[in-house]
């Protein structure tokens, strides 16, 4: 059985595939956790990466639609790119934090989330600057 992201006919089947895959992964994890916890962590990591890889094709379709809308609306592409990068950072940070928390390291997961928040704030600085300047322009002197 293979995941195929370009299958037009089996769209409702995909969720069944994913749920089945995750159930298998959970089962195997429970079996191995007794003997080797490190291997069970790797199984979790592999399952998470596989599901994420499966979903990234779908996310790409949504992102392309957003880009087309932005181009049609004559938006400044720098802002759209910044927002896309922020969404990407959020996805990666969430993935890493969940995997780390599953492995029992809640404090490292909190550090990953903190890093994600700070990096998002840094990337949003140009947008924030433009926003504040616009608001100041509106204010009467």
């Amino acid at each position: 059985m293979c995941f195929s992201s370009r299958d037009e006919e089996g769209v409702p089947i995909e969720i069944i595939q994913i749920v089945g895959f995750c159930l298998i992964a959970t089962f195997l994890t429970i079996i191995i956790k007794e003997q080797k916890p490190a291997f069970s962590f790797l199984v979790i990591l592999f399952a998470g990466a596989t599901v994420f890889l499966f979903l990234i094709g779908k996310i790409q379709a949504v992102i392309m639609m957003l880009e087309r809308l932005a181009t049609n609306a004559n938006l400044n592409m720098v802002y759209v790119e910044t927002i896309l990068k922020i969404i990407g950072i959020a996805y990666i940070a969430e993935f890493g934090a969940q995997i780390t928390r599953d492995a029992g390291q809640g404090s490292i997961a909190a550090k990953i989330e903190l890093a994600g928040k700070v990096l998002i704030l840094v990337m949003a600085i140009p947008i924030l600057t433009v926003l504040i300047e616009t608001i100041i322009d509106f204010l009467p002197n």
Binding site: M1, C2, F3, S4, S5, F21, I24, A25, L28, I31, I32, Q35, K36, A38, F39, S40, L42, V43, L45, F46, A47, A49, T50, F52, L53, F54, I56, I59, Q60, I63, E81, L84, K85, I87, G88, Y91, I92
Partner: protein, 68 residues
Amino acid sequence: MPYDVNTIFQIAGIGIVVAMLHTVLKQMGKEDIAHWITLIGFVLVLFIVITLLDDLFQQIRGVFLFQG
């Protein structure tokens, strides 16, 4: 790009076999060999997982426009 579900059985299988070998070698009194086998199995599985993780990060970088 299809992703093979059999790989997860492969990882779990390596884990079970390594655990079994570890137990058997421990019973025979060869502790050091048992630890080496655990380490080798772990590196093998880590290689599989890291390959997939690299693929995932490349795809994310492509989709969300991270240049460089």
